[in-house]
Amino acid sequence: MRDQTIVGIAQMAVCRAPRGLACLGLGSCVAVILYDPAMKLGGMVHILLPKAPHKCDSDEKYADTGTRKLVGELIAKGAKKERLVAKLVGGAQMFPNLSLSISDIGNHNIDEVKKTLKELGVKLVAEETQGNRGRSAYLNTENGSVTIETAFSATKTI
């Protein structure tokens, strides 16, 4: 396997082919994966929570600020917003029977990312989200494809 950067919770990374990017073991967290095909430039942010509070401790932890920061970082590295395509992985409900307000956090994360992408005018082209299984996502920066692994099911590429 080629070299890749692992993006942990509340972290962000941007890189150019051939180096890949990966988020491992996504549950209710969402990997926001952006790719500029013309530059073979990819970026990933691993968000934990939907909406940043007024006084925000870390942009990368939240869906809204994390997505914005990633788009900004890619543009700073030479990407064009019109060329960017977004893919989403994660946002599962890992403990559906737990009666807590936070049980549905995965859905909230996805909604907030989609809202932010729409505001920014970035196209969402594919997603592998919701359900109640964990996922790992690997971005191939040569072609923008995202491979998804789970604990028990077959590997899938979007």
Binding site: G8, I9, A10, Q11, L24, G25, L26, G27, S28, C29, H46, L48, L49, D57, S58, K61, A92, M94, F95, P96, N97, L98, S99, L100, I102, S103, I105, N132, R133, G134, R135, S136, T150, A151, F152
Partner: protein, 202 residues
């Protein structure tokens, strides 16, 4: 807390040792195996590093999770590596178990094991510091460790960037069986525990 993090961690470790000891005793009698607790370790970690500390986000584990409401706010997890979860379920249900497709009885057994551990953990620590603890009914899943940890981390991560992971390993003496308890206290909970157990700052 910033002045003497070492002593704070010592107190939390002692707290968790007592809880884990009680939980391991309950689990021992349920399974009829002799369990031994290893020492509790207590680490202050950034959110991104918790799964690495526990052995990597991609390993498959059985996790039972509950969250304490009330005065003490804290996530508590019982985590079993996949081999141990399988052995435990086969022992309890006397049937062969496929972790990728647990039936209702098997999933319920897994939840119940977690429930018993969590309750005994809580009984011991709530007596010690005289605080009522109200756990939400637990839920269980078998999946990638990173995914199992997401919601517990999201519940404490709303307020902080680093979490205190309190980890107590248990092992069967005569069988291939092991697992660990993980406590993720919120900061207000930490303060309460420190107050009740003798705050080193005073």
């Amino acid at each position: 807390m910033a002045e003497q993090p070492g002593r704070v961690l010592d107190i939390i470790t002692e707290f968790a040792n007592i809880g884990a000891g009680s939980a391991a005793t309950a689990l021992s009698s349920l399974l009829d195996v002799e369990l031994m607790n290893d020492a509790t370790t207590c680490e202050i970690l950034p959110l991104a590093k918790v799964s690495d500390y526990l052995g990597g986000a991609k390993q498959v584990v059985a996790g039972t999770y509950t969250y304490l409401c009330g005065d003490l706010k804290c996530g508590v997890l019982v985590v079993l590596p996949s081999d141990s979860a399988k052995a435990l379920l086969q022992h309890l249900t006397k049937e062969s178990v496929e972790l990728s497709a647990l039936n209702t009885i098997q999933l319920s057994a897994l939840k119940e094991v977690g429930n018993i551990c969590l309750c005994w953990y809580l009984i011991a620590v709530s007596k010690m510091i005289s605080v009522d603890m109200i756990p939400a009914p637990p839920d269980a899943t078998v999946d990638l460790l990173g995914a199992v940890l997401d919601m517990p981390l999201a519940s404490v991560g709303a307020k902080v960037d680093t979490v205190i992971a309190v980890h107590t390993q248990f092992k069967a003496l005569d069988r291939e069986f092991e697992g660990y308890f993980l406590m993720l206290p919120e900061e207000s909970t930490l303060k309460l525990i420190l107050d009740r157990m003798g705050d080193p700052r005073q």
